[in-house]
């Protein structure tokens, strides 16, 4: 009998029930979309913030001070990093967080035609690197320095091309397509390169010339060596533990040390890079690392608050409609009561009707919401928003809670309903 009444009411009132289901579906889709976007926004924004460039620089342990202070180019092992070891960056614990990296080998050179001295930088522009794991990655300053505005082209790895900084280009009167001779002062090593592009970086690089790493190694007679590695990694915002560790990793207790090592703090990643590459000294670039954390936290908090608002909005919207739809059924309930149904029976009947509609609507709404999340993800970040499984239980609990609390005022009314009054009409 119960099922018959339930089925009957659902089928006969399908238009009204359909409306309730639609509203619930809309509310649920909103909730699903917002929760998914909120949970994923940190990761997405973090990737965007990679536009600020390298947040870790790796230098040889012993060379840093000598060179920076006295300009001494002391030769010999230990002063340089090995190019062959670069692939090891992708083998550390947080390898997946390392987005881009690029080696740097600097030297002074003289441009033959103008007899002026310039800083020559050997680097990877867009290099395909085979990893020890068998994978290949494409990395280099094209990805790392996304803010450069380049006239002409990026240099091809294999070519004898060069890219000249905009200030140096205007100072020396050189243009794209010019061929120049590079001479290392005090040696007979020379090379002929063609300027393929002129870049404006808005930084000190504008006074420098960039050539493929292999060419720079030949000119400096340092085969297989690099002077510095710039690394761009996705990191977790700094906290107390990270600051304590940054000061001195040895001051941590064993448990703290484990947490620190297994969290993607910029310090922890730098530490792991030092472990992976021999004779390396990895330093977090504070300017990038600290600011990332601040912006990330603000964005997440903002999204959280917007999510809460839309949750409250959809909750109230759903419960509103439920109240309205239950209230208008007072005649039916009046009749049921007049026929001898007691309060519990009426309640169970009404609630199961609502829950049934709610679940159907919620189911449809969840998938609709996933769609919305994808639209947001694709339009804003051109990447899919991961559908987090933890959203499903949250949404389920919410649907049940909302439909039940939403029908509370209506239920109160139903219980206190006097059949005679309703049936007679006002």
């Amino acid at each position: 009998m119960f099922w018959q009444i339930l089925k009957g009411s659902l089928v006969r009132q399908r238009q009204k029930m359909f409306m309730v289901a639609i509203t619930i579906a809309l509310g649920v889709s909103l909730t699903t979309a917002m929760l998914n976007v909120m949970l994923d926004v940190g990761d997405k924004v973090n990737r965007e913030l990679k536009a600020y460039g390298a947040n870790i620089t790796v230098t040889p342990r012993s060379a840093s001070i000598l060179h920076d202070f006295y300009g001494v180019e002391a030769g010999g092992a230990g002063q340089y990093l090995q190019e062959s070891e670069l692939g090891k960056l992708k083998t550390i614990f947080w390898a997946n967080n390392i987005v881009d990296f690029s080696p740097i080998l600097e030297t002074r050179a003289i441009i033959g035609q103008t007899a002026s001295e310039i800083t020559l930088v050997g680097t990877w522009f867009n290099h395909r690197l085979d990893l020890p794991t068998g994978e290949t990655v494409e990395t280099g300053i094209k990805q790392l320095k996304s803010w450069w505005s380049v006239e002409g082209n990026w240099v091809q790895e294999s070519s004898q091309g060069a890219m000249l900084g905009s200030m140096a280009a205007s100072r020396l009167g050189l243009q794209i397509g010019d061929e120049i001779d590079l001479v290392i002062p005090g040696s007979d090593r020379t090379a002929k390169v063609k300027i393929e592009g002129v870049f404006n970086s808005g930084g000190p690089e504008d006074e420098e010339i960039f050539v493929p790493l292999g060419l720079a190694q030949k000119l400096t007679n340092l085969p297989g060596k690099v002077g510095k590695i710039e690394v761009s990694a996705i990191t977790t915002p700094e906290n107390e533990l990270a600051r304590k560790a940054a000061h001195d990793p040895k001051s941590l207790s064993l448990k703290e040390w484990e947490t620190w090592y297994c969290t993607a703090y910029v310090g922890a990643i730098a530490y792991q890079i030092e472990e992976a590459i021999t004779g390396a000294h990895a330093k977090p670039v504070r300017q990038v690392a600290e600011s990332e954390g601040a912006i990330l936290q603000k964005t997440q908090l903002l999204m959280l608050l917007i999510t809460v608002l839309s949750l409250i909005g959809s909750t109230l919207g759903i419960s509103n409609l439920l109240t309205a739809s239950v209230m208008e059924r007072n005649r039916e309930v009046g009749l049921l009561k007049a026929l001898g149904a007691d309060d519990t029976e009426v309640l169970v009947l009404t609630l199961s009707q609502i829950l049934f509609t709610g679940i159907a609507g919620g189911f449809a709404g969840y998938f609709l919401g996933l769609g919305f999340a994808q639209i947001i993800g694709q339009t804003v970040f051109s990447a899919a928003v991961a559908a987090k499984p933890m959203v499903i239980p949250i949404v389920m609990v919410l649907v049940v809670l909302v439909t039940l609390t939403g029908s509370l005022p209506a239920i109160r009314m139903l219980v206190s309903l006097r059949p005679a009054e309703v049936l007679h009409g006002r």
Partner: protein
């Protein structure tokens, strides 16, 4: 005249007598308006507030000496920075570079105003303390500290040419950049030691402005003050433009989705509330009311509800946006009359339209059928 009194009487009474149901409808409209005004206010305010956060990346504009000159007069720098929008300025930090001997070792030195650098480069990690202005204390880069084996609180001897003085190390700077190879003294003190009174090598400026605004500034300042060459710090300006654009697009899309769904919710609730009054419509028709007057009456009710709910919602929405701004950015926002008006108009329109749809279907039904029920 009497016609209008009757009309308004009918509307007011129908709202008052059916209090509980009208309350439900009012609540729905109010929620819609809250979401609308709250989110639009946030959308409008986010770029401004986020722009401030992005200033933690440090200077986005530097002023360097024009031509081959190594230094520029502080007065010229001041004349150039006066051209910037003053209320958007975060900090102006001038640097004078030089080489001095610290404990008999040649070290690179920079003279700075500590308070300004703290504003422009909030990412500097200091072990120890920032020195007091004019106290003569110094900051020392982490690499230098390692080289000289000094700790915060110790004293070092600074020597440049003839002049020699002792200075206390207030703190050790860690930035991960070239700053770690420098020591930092008070600017006037270094100017005196190097005999470069009133001169600086470079000035870093942190200002809340878009790349386009900064580019125009570099042009005008370069023309008006020929002694300095302003340059954009591309890494910061360009990236900021990009990330901020994405963030704004994110809030924009989220706002659109939330608004769309909320408005549909409001509309369905209104439709449900009106649809149950089919009997009333039938009765009115049986008594001889024209379709037009019935539609007008319901429209009047709907507009009234929209106005009340919209007002309530606009106020609530403003408080919501306010609390978001205070919680996330720690700053107040100003009331935007335009957004309030818009929220009000949209909520009135949505309510009106949502009322009309069920009324239209109800009026097209024969009164006798409606009145008999089912």
């Amino acid at each position: 005249m009497t016609k209008y009194t009757m009309y308004s009487k009918m509307i007011v009474h129908s709202l008052l007598r059916r209090r509980s149901r009208m309350f439900v409808a009012l609540l729905a409209v109010a929620i819609g308006a809250t979401v609308l005004s709250g989110l639009v206010t946030i959308y409008y305010d986010v770029p401004r507030q986020m722009g401030r956060e992005f200033r933690s990346y440090g200077a986005n504009l530097i002023l360097i000496p024009a031509g081959d000159s190594q230094v520029v007069a502080e007065t010229d720098v001041a004349r150039a920075t006066e051209l910037l929008p003053q209320e958007q300025l975060v900090g102006i930090a001038s640097y004078l570079y030089g080489r001095i001997k610290v404990n008999e070792q040649p070290i690179m030195v920079a003279g700075i105003h500590f308070q300004e650098v703290k504003k422009v480069s909030p990412f500097w990690q200091i072990r120890g303390n920032w020195p007091e202005e004019q106290a003569g204390d110094i900051l020392i880069g982490a690499e230098v500290a390692e080289l000289l084996k000094v700790e915060p609180g110790q004293s070092v001897t600074l020597a440049a040419g003839e002049s020699e003085r002792k200075a206390k190390v207030a703190g050790i700077v860690r930035t991960g950049g070239t700053e770690e190879n420098y020591i930092f003294t008070d600017l006037p003190m270094l100017q005196q030691m190097l005999n470069k009174e009133g001169q600086v090598s470079v000035t870093q400026v942190s200002v809340m402005a878009t790349e386009a605004e900064l580019t125009t500034f570099t042009k005008t300042a370069g023309d008006k003050v020929p002694a300095v060459t302003p340059r954009l710090v591309k890494r910061v300006t360009q990236s900021e433009e990009m990330v901020l654009g994405k963030l704004q697009a994110l809030v924009y899309l989220v706002t659109i989705v939330v608004l769309l769904l909320t408005l549909i919710c409001v509309a369905t609730t209104m439709m449900a509330v009106v649809a149950e009054r089919r009997k009333e419509i039938g009765l009115k028709k049986a008594l001889g009311a024209e379709n037009r007057s019935i539609v007008l009456e319901f429209l009047g009710e709907g507009l009234m509800l929209g106005l009340l709910g919209g007002l309530l919602g606009t106020v609530l929405g403003f408080f919501f946006a306010q609390s978001v701004s205070v919680n996330v950015f720690g700053r107040m926002i100003s009331f935007q009359p335009l957004i309030a008006c818009m929220a009000l108009i949209v909520s009135i329109m949505v309510t009106g339209v949502a009322c009309l749809i069920p009324v239209k279907t109800a009026t097209s039904v024969e009164p006798a059928i409606v009145l008999r029920g089912e």
